[in-house]
C-alpha cells in the first residue's frame, strides 16, 4: 500500500546553532537510492518527525542545486521542535515531503533580484538565494536585505558574512532595530550599489521587516508592481 503519511528516515549529519533556540540540521536520507532521486523545488516545505512526539512543518532551507542532502532550520517552540532540539549528530529523524508551492526562480533569469527576509524567515529565502547564487551568471544585480530583532537572532551568521564579502551581491549589513545597542545605523546599506534596493531600505528605515504586509506596501510605493513581488 502506498502510505502517503509514511516519512523517510534521515540521519542528522551536522548540527549548527544559529541563534538562541534556533538550530540547523543537515540531513541525509538513510536510503541511498533516495539520496540520489530526491527532488524538490526551492521554497517547498516538509514535515519533520521527532518520533514519539509528532511532526512539524517547516521549509527546506537548502537549495535544490546542492545534491545529496537537505538542510532545515527551526526554532525550538513546542513539543516536536523541542524533541528535535534534543537530537544529536548521528540520530535518526523523519522527513516527508516535499509539499507546497515554490518560487519560480527560472522566470527571473536576466532580472535584478532583491531578497527581503526577517529573523527566522531567512531559511526559506536562503534556499532561493543559494539557488540563484549557484547559477549566478543567469541573474542580474542581487540585493539581500535581512534583519532580525537583535543581533543574536540573526541566523546563518557565517553565511551573512560571506555574502557581505562577495562583490557580486549587494548586502544590507545585518539589520536590527535601533533598540539593540551598538547596532544603530546598521540598517543602512551601501547606497551606490543597489538602486531600488537602497530606496527600499530608506523607505522602510528602522521598522521591523517581519510583517510581509508592511514590506509589500513599501515595495508598491517604490514602484515595484505586485506581480514582481514573490512571497
Amino acid at each position: 500500500m502506498d502510505n502517503i503519511y509514511l516519512p523517510y528516515l534521515a540521519k542528522i549529519e551536522e548540527i549548527r546553532d544559529e541563534a538562541p533556540d534556533v538550530r540547523s540540521f543537515k540531513l541525509v536520507f538513510e536510503d541511498p537510492a533516495l539520496r540520489d532521486s530526491f527532488e524538490f523545488k526551492t521554497g517547498q516545505f516538509g514535515l519533520y518527525s521527532a518520533f514519539g512526539l509528532g511532526e512539524s512543518t517547516f521549509c527546506i532551507a537548502s537549495s535544490p542545486t546542492r545534491k545529496g542532502y537537505i538542510q532545515c532550520t527551526f526554532r525550538r517552540t513546542g513539543r516536536v521542535t523541542g524533541g528535535l532540539a534534543q537530537l544529536s549528530v548521528g540520530d535518526t529523524m523523519g522527513f516527508r515531503g516535499p509539499y507546497g508551492n515554490w518560487f519560480p526562480v527560472d522566470d527571473w533569469k536576466g532580472k535584478d533580484i532583491v531578497f527581503i527576509a526577517g529573523g527566522i524567515c531567512l531559511p526559506t529565502v536562503r534556499s532561493v538565494i543559494w539557488n540563484v547564487l549557484d547559477r549566478r551568471q543567469h541573474f542580474g544585480n542581487i540585493t539581500i536585505v535581512y534583519g532580525a530583532r537583535t543581533v543574536a537572532d540573526l541566523v546563518y551568521k557565517d553565511e551573512l558574512k560571506g555574502w557581505d564579502e562577495r562583490s557580486d551581491i549587494t548586502p544590507s549589513r545585518p539589520w536590527t532595530p535601533a533598540r539593540d545597542p551598538g547596532m544603530e545605523g546598521q540598517g543602512r546599506v551601501r547606497a551606490d550599489r543597489i538602486g531600488r534596493g537602497r530606496a527600499f531600505c530608506e523607505e522602510h528605515g528602522g521598522r521591523d521587516l517581519h510583517i510581509s504586509k508592511f514590506v509589500l506596501n513599501s515595495l508598491l510605493k517604490l514602484g515595484f508592481d505586485e506581480g514582481s513581488v514573490y512571497t
Binding site: 502510505n3 502517503i4 503519511y5 528516515l9 518520533f51 512526539l53 512539524s56 526554532r75 517552540t77 535518526t92
Partner: protein, 350 residues
Amino acid sequence: MNPARLSGRMKTVSMADRTLKKEDLGKLIDSVRAKGGRFVAPALLARQVVFRSVKSAEEVATGYILARNSFKEFLFPQTEVIAEFSMNKDSVGLKGVEVDAPETVVFGARPCEAASLKGLRTLFTWDFVDEFYTKREDKTVVITVGCTSGDEACFCTTVDLSPESTEGADVYLRETEDNGYTVKGLTEKGKKFLDTHDAVFTSGAAKERPLFKPETVPAVDLKRVSERLKDRAHYDDPVWAKLTMKCIGCGACTFVCPTCRCFDITDEGTAFEGERRKNWDSCQYDAFTLHASGHNPREHQPQRWRNRFMCKFNFYPEKFSSKGCVGCGRCIRVCPVRLDITEVMQEFSK
C-alpha cells in the same frame, strides 16, 4: 414543528428493478457477513440512532429520520494508526500500517449524506492519493433509502438535493407500504452487489411510500451566497459576529458533518515505541490555526465559524466543484446553542 415546512409530499415514482422484503433484510445481512463483509446500518446506541456495524436485522433501526452521526467514520475513522515506530540507541524502526479496509455495506444512508462522497474523494485524492480513504471507499457499497420523514432541520432541497437524489449512492431503495423496499442498482459497484446477493431479493411490483421532501428554506439563494463569499470584503463584516457570537467553539457540528474531513497527525506511545495516528480535527477549535509564534490568524470564534461557512459554500464548490454542504441538518440538531447554518445562508443571500 413548523407545519408549513413539513407539508411537502412527493409523487410516487417507481424505478425499481428488484424488491427486498422486510423479512429478507436479515438474509441480506447474513449474505454480506458470510462473505466476510461488514454491514453498517442505523441502529440504536445510547438512546439514539447511529451508524453501527450490525449482525442482525433486529438491530437495524426503523422509523428514524437520519442517524445522528455521518457514515463517514467507516471510510475515514475518527482515529486510526498510520505508522508504528520503535526507537533504540542507534536507530529508529518505522513501519507503515496497512489500511484495514473490509468489504462494507452502508445500508440506510440518506440521499443527502451520500452526496458528500464526491467531495471527500476529491479531497483525499488531491495531489496525493490517501489510500486510507480510497481503499475503504472502493470497498464500500452505499445503499441509500429515500426519506419518508424529516424534521425542521432538514434542508436538502435548499442545496439542490432531494430524497430522490442518487449522487454518491450505489443502490437506491424506497420504502414500501409493507415495510420492505424497492431496489434500484445505480453504479456498476451497486449492480454487481445486487447480482452477488441476488438470491435475497425478489421481483415484482410493490407500493412505495410517499417521499418526504422538505420545503426549501425561504430567502436562500445559493448563487448569491457563492457570489458574496467570493468577494473577501465580507471577511471583516460585523455580521459574522452578529450571527455567530453565540457559538461556543465545540467541534460537534464538524464531527457529525458528512463533508467535514480535517484531521491532525499525532504520535502516542512511550520513549521506546509508539504509533502515529490520524485523528479528526475541527476548524472550530481555537488551537486549530494557532501558530508556533503565538499568533492566531483566526483568534475569534466568529472567524472560525466564517471559515466553516466559507469551506462549505466557497472552498469546496470552487476548488473541487462539489457540494460542501448536503443539507442533512446534523449540525443544527447537535448544536448546543442551536446555531442554524440556514440562517447564515439567508443572511448571505441578501
